[in-house]
């Protein structure tokens, strides 16, 4: 019985640090706000997005995202704004640039090298 309860909880209880008073009335905008929240990293809590973090700065950023959405800004405008303030660290998926190219290319190269060794005929 306990096990079932835990499993049900895991399935239906989507962990969100977001407070009821933060939620926007407009469902469409709220959905966009949550999408943005999942792409931005909380700056003080290492590998947690602002959507799921209880830290003050995450709460401030959530409020800012919603404020900007209500002012009519788009998702990419808001992400660009936060990126311009906090740098690459705040983005969960790093941008594809010359200095970050290793992050994107190296895993593929390693995969190719390893597959070469693995499938090579002796």
């Amino acid at each position: 019985m306990t096990l079932i309860f835990i499993l049900l909880n895991l399935i239906f209880f989507n962990v969100n640090a977001i407070q009821p008073d933060e939620i926007l009335e407009n469902k469409e905008l709220e959905k966009t706000a949550r999408d943005i929240g999942k792409e931005l990293r909380c700056l003080v809590c290492q590998n947690e997005d602002i959507q799921n973090s209880n830290a003050d700065i995450a709460k401030d950023l959530r409020a800012l995202v919603r404020k900007k959405l209500l002012e009519g800004e788009s998702k990419s405008q808001i992400i660009d704004y936060v990126h311009s303030r906090y740098g690459d660290f705040v983005l969960f998926s790093p941008p594809f640039r010359i200095d970050t190219i290793g992050l994107w290319i190296l895993p593929i190269i390693f995969f190719l090298i390893l597959s070469f060794f693995f499938f090579r005929k002796k």
């Binding site: 700056l43 290492q46 401030d60 906090y86 660290f89």
Partner: protein, 167 residues
Amino acid sequence: MRYLFLFIFLSCIYIFYEGLKKDPKEIPSNLISQKIPSFSLTSFSGTNFSDLDLKKNEVIILNFFASWCPPCSIEHRFLTKLGRNVSIYGIAKKNEHNELSSWLNKLGNPYTKIGMDYEGITSIDWGVYGLPETFIIDKDGYIKYKHVGPILERDMKKIKSIIKNLK
């Protein structure tokens, strides 16, 4: 081929080892060498406090702080020391006016002007993620240096020399 493989493997270990020495809590500021962001706040004394107040044609310090932040109280006396040579401006994040007032009465007020960032939006504009944070701004209004965390005895020499070089 085998040696190449070994070389790649050892390089990876070296990069990983070097990475371990870095402090993940320190996030480089994206605003270094940029012009100060524009903002407009009510000041502690009730007047207006904006980016224009920071363009004084001299090197200045802008300190983000709050009376509810314990490291800010520790930093306070070092800021006061710095304030003898350079004007210090403050932005108080999410601070009630009366609490800030009694904090300043107790510790003294080294700030030329304090902006009240009640909602914390201006702090985000400046890329602030924890308190205290301190910016050094040059004569032309460009951000030259950011110090995260309290300024302590060990940081004084570095900060003084940065200010001296900018003057």
